[in-house]
């Protein structure tokens, strides 16, 4: 029997496209790690990793207090246009916005899957809070009738300038819910940022994933039940914080890109560096991201998902075609990638007896790793090895440099299975860290995640001072974190950003505040642990 303080045991799982990784953690300590192939059905892969962890440590399932899961299911569903539900889109803003109706910039394929049910209604705000037009309850009831007739069960609601004032979206949501009990409603101000089309797109994606969200969450619960684990379940969000399963059922888009985020957060945890660059080297590609105060820097421009522009918070990640399976070719010039043997590395790479020269072979021949059989790469030209190692280093350091905001050397943390490609130095790095457990940094990132709250909207500085306004924004963020499940005593503000708006009267400013805290585990589970 494994004797540990069971109130602190957590499992972190990262369900990726290729592998499902999992770790068992006791507080800040990694007790066990597992990697298995991801399965087509949600449940069995998760059951496998859970079984492995529990068996490996002879745990009683009851000793696990919380399970944190990061998943790519929802991103893949949109990219593949599969398992999406018909969705109605209600936009409040008439007479404005008619020139570009909802989903105007969606690929036909996706629009068809969702049904193209769009409704333009009155409402919306000006930048300074004035109403464009008043909300018309009668109009919304007519819309509800039509939606009801079409038997659509999920509705996305957007309103012009709702990040500044959400009253119309809330009110319209109430009316539609009243007319169509049981309908799932997604409100844009809770999902995206300024930029109507992009925010609305993100909201529509959220709405069309609601059925799938229920299904996936149930599947996770089913997997836990099968292994006999009775613990709280949380899903990873793309900002590095957790959400409850109830929240996840309502906001599945918040999981988009949680994989790279978890990797980066895991890297921060493993290396103890809160401000650094993280390079996650996989089999085919590498991702570079920047950590600021332990959280990923967010992308400031529109991000396309399945060819649709969205603007919700996403980690700012630069990906390039270099991984442990990348092909190395010498035809005049030395070329590495972007094509890769991918998951077939262990059959195709030279050091595994295959016939393809990969970056892993270079690393093995260069003495950086001893996986496979070194004798199979002993014949490689020394000069080629040297040049290939240098080329990989140059490309990684150039990619990190691209993401940096100043020329200062910074710590660089390298994680992922492809970490073996790098020697222990890199141009532009004040230090290069390859932490232990680097292959499961993503699952660790899921396990250690905190709970957060965020405010991002335009504040008028006409009636309040700047300090008072900032204070108000910070308080709102803290309250949101607590509402999301954080322990109030541990919540602190991690990021404040103020952006004055060009071409607007100087009194308007956009403020983004983010607060995070430790997860407040439920009273009964704490009691059960005593």
């Amino acid at each position: 029997m494994y004797e540990e303080d069971k109130t602190r045991m957590r499992i972190g799982i990262d369900v990726g496209g290729t592998n499902t990784d999992a770790v068992l953690m006791d507080g800040q300590k990694v007790i066990a790690e597992v990697k298995t192939p991801t399965t087509a059905d949600v449940t069995s892969g998760v059951v496998t990793v859970l079984r492995n962890l529990v068996d490996a440590r002879r745990l009683r399932a009851g000793q696990i207090q919380a399970v944190m899961i990061g998943t790519t299911h929802f991103t893949n569903a949109v990219v593949e246009a599969k398992r999406l539900m018909p969705t109605a889109v209600v936009r409040l803003g008439l007479p404005a916005t008619q020139a570009l109706p909802p989903m105007v910039d969606w690929p036909d394929r996706l629009r068809k899957v969702l049904g193209g049910h769009v409704y333009l209604c009155h409402g919306g705000h000006e930048f300074d809070g004035r109403h464009i037009s008043e909300l018309d309850p009668g109009e919304l009831r007519n819309v509800a009738e039509d939606i009801g007739r079409k038997k659509i069960r999920s509705i996305a609601i957007s309103s012009v300038f709702s990040p500044v004032n959400n009253e119309f979206e809330e009110e319209a949501g109430r009316i539609l819910e009243e007319e169509l009990p049981g309908t799932m409603i997604s409100l844009s101000h809770q999902i995206g940022r300024m930029g109507l089309l992009e925010r609305e797109n993100a909201t529509i994606m959220n709405a069309c994933l609601r059925d799938l969200a229920v299904h996936i969450v149930d599947a996770f619960h089913g997997a836990l039940a099968e292994v006999g684990i009775d613990a709280a379940v949380y899903l990873s969000q793309n900002d590095g914080t957790l959400m409850s399963v109830d929240y996840a059922k309502r906001y599945p888009v918040a999981t988009f890109a949680s994989g790279p985020t978890n990797s980066m957060r895991g890297a921060a945890f493993l290396s103890g560096r809160l401000d650094c660059a993280v390079v996650d080297i996989g089999g085919t590609t590498s991702d570079v991201g920047m950590l600021q105060h332990g959280f990923p820097r967010e992308a400031s421009i529109a991000v396309e998902i399945g060819e649709v522009r969205t603007n919700f918070r996403m980690p700012d990640v630069f990906s390039f075609g270099l991984g442990g399976g990348s092909l190395v070719r010498e035809d005049g010039d030395l070329r590495i990638g972007p094509d890769s043997v991918g998951y077939e590395l262990t059959s195709k790479a030279l050091c595994f007896g295959g016939d393809t020269l990969t970056t892993t072979d270079i690393a093995v021949a260069g003495g950086l790793s001893d996986i496979g059989d070194r004798s199979l790469v002993a014949h490689l030209d020394k000069n080629l090895i040297k040049r290939a190692l240098q080329l990989m280093e140059d490309r990684i350091s150039a990619s990190v440099d691209r993401m940096k905001t100043s020329a200062q050397p910074i710590p660089i943390v390298v994680v992922g299975g492809g970490s073996i490609l790098l020697r222990d130095r890199l141009a532009g790095a004040s230090e290069l860290i390859k932490p232990e457990h680097f292959a499961v940094a993503n699952a660790i990132g899921a396990a250690i995640a905190q709970v957060g709250g965020e405010v991002d909207r335009i504040f008028s500085l006409e009636k309040k001072s700047r300090d008072e306004t900032l204070e108000q924004a910070k308080q709102e963020a803290v309250d949101k974190a607590v509402a999301a499940g954080a322990n109030r005593d541990t919540v602190h503000v991690v990021d404040v950003e103020e952006v004055p708006l060009s071409y607007l009267p100087s009194s308007a400013t956009r403020i983004r505040v983010k607060a995070v805290g430790e997860l407040q585990l439920e009273a009964e589970s704490v009691a059960a642990g005593n």
Partner: protein, 364 residues
């Protein structure tokens, strides 16, 4: 005369961002608006200036306001129709053509929605040959053509018609009306005859924008060098190649001002270039010496991709090539330089045309 279709606008928006010299507003919304209008009303007829009758009544059309608001409060689509109707009634004659006032950025595509909806031809020309931040900064101003009577319309149904004593007053009044309308408005102004258009506007710039976009796309497709292709087409010069090392921005009097420093690579290694901008790039300063200035076009392109990079997008680490290309000759007159020369923007230097600065250098 030729027809412009929905697909042509992809290239056009990219090329317009090249001519936008770092500013000119977000071309994405403008492109969508134009594409949507063409989808609903059919292709737009683009005519050369030579095809416009001398007695035609041409009214330029544009979007005015805060870019941050334009991406949130989208137009209703009929604003410009109401503005045109109001102005047409005031002038007492039917409007026969529309034209772009600013080929750089968002307002290269705005007139396409007007032409498609109103069923009138669009003239292949503009009032700048690039982008500039203020209403009076157009070549027709140099020919004594008044911006007013000017009509403004918002999406709520409000319209305003203003007449002013000069074009700077137009900028002022129009700016405050626009803010009251909710910080965006569609505008119709600088009404002129076909004859006036031919002498006062910059011809061929819409077709040029489309060509530039196509050059970037096709050169990249053929693994060529898109930057050189742009430089050659615009008869310009490569000014500097390097990496963005620092960007500072501030908002002043409603404008996005700032500067970016680029550290040289290759032949420019060891040198650095500072770009000062007010929405658009104003001057390029190499190691303390101004090497290019308004009204010539200072354009920042991705070093490998040739994609234009706006001042808002500029970030540390970007590999860029800075190019400078000659402005339209109308800007090089004393009156033109008073309106948009370096002194207007606060730089106490003589304007020297980019060909004189770089002419001795081997053409890129």
């Amino acid at each position: 005369m030729r027809q412009v279709t929905e697909n042509d606008l992809e290239d056009l928006a990219i090329g317009a961002a090249v001519l936008g010299t770092g500013g000119g507003g977000n071309p994405y919304i403008g492109k969508l608006l134009a594409q949507q209008a063409i989808r609903e009303h059919g292709p737009v007829t683009l005519v050369d200036t030579g095809e416009v009758p001398d007695d035609a009544l041409v009214v330029p059309s544009a979007m005015m306001g805060a870019p941050t608001v334009m991406v949130e409060k989208l137009p209703s689509g009929d604003e410009i129709i109401r503005a045109f109707k109001l102005l047409g009634e005031y002038l007492g004659r039917p409007i026969t053509h529309t034209v772009s006032i600013e080929a750089g950025g968002l307002n290269s595509t705005t007139p396409f929605s007007v032409a498609a909806q109103m069923g009138i031809p669009l003239v292949d020309a503009d009032g700048m040959g690039r982008a500039f931040p203020e209403i009076q900064m157009v070549t027709p101003t140099l020919f004594g053509i008044a911006a007013t009577p000017m009509a403004l319309a918002d999406e709520k149904g409000n319209t305003a018609l203003i007449t002013t004593v000069d074009n700077r007053w137009t900028e002022r009044l129009a700016r405050s009306i626009t803010v009251d309308m909710g910080a965006t408005a569609m505008i119709a102004l600088y009404a002129l005859t076909g004859k006036q258009l031919k002498e006062s506007m910059v011809p061929g710039t819409i077709g040029l924008a489309q060509e530039l976009g196509r050059l970037i796309r096709e050169t990249r497709g053929a693994h060529g060098d898109p930057v050189s292709a742009i430089v050659n087409r615009l008869r310009g010069y490569k000014v500097f190649e390097g990496k963005v090392a620092d960007v500072q921005r501030r908002t002043e009097a409603g404008f996005a001002k700032g500067e970016a420093r680029v550290d040289g690579v290759g032949g420019d290694a060891g040198a650095s270039l500072v770009l000062r901008f007010q929405n658009e790039h104003l001057v390029a300063i190499r190691d303390g010496h101004i090497v290019a200035s308004v009204p010539d076009l200072i354009i920042v392109l991705g070093a490998e991709t040739g994609e234009p990079i706006t001042t808002e997008e500029l970030r540390y680490g970007f590999r860029v090539t800075v190019i400078a290309t000659p402005c339209d000759s109308k800007w090089r007159t004393p009156a033109g330089l008073r309106l948009v020369g370096p002194r207007y923007f606060g730089y106490d230097i003589e304007y020297v045309p980019v060909e004189e600065r770089f002419g001795a250098v081997v053409r890129a």
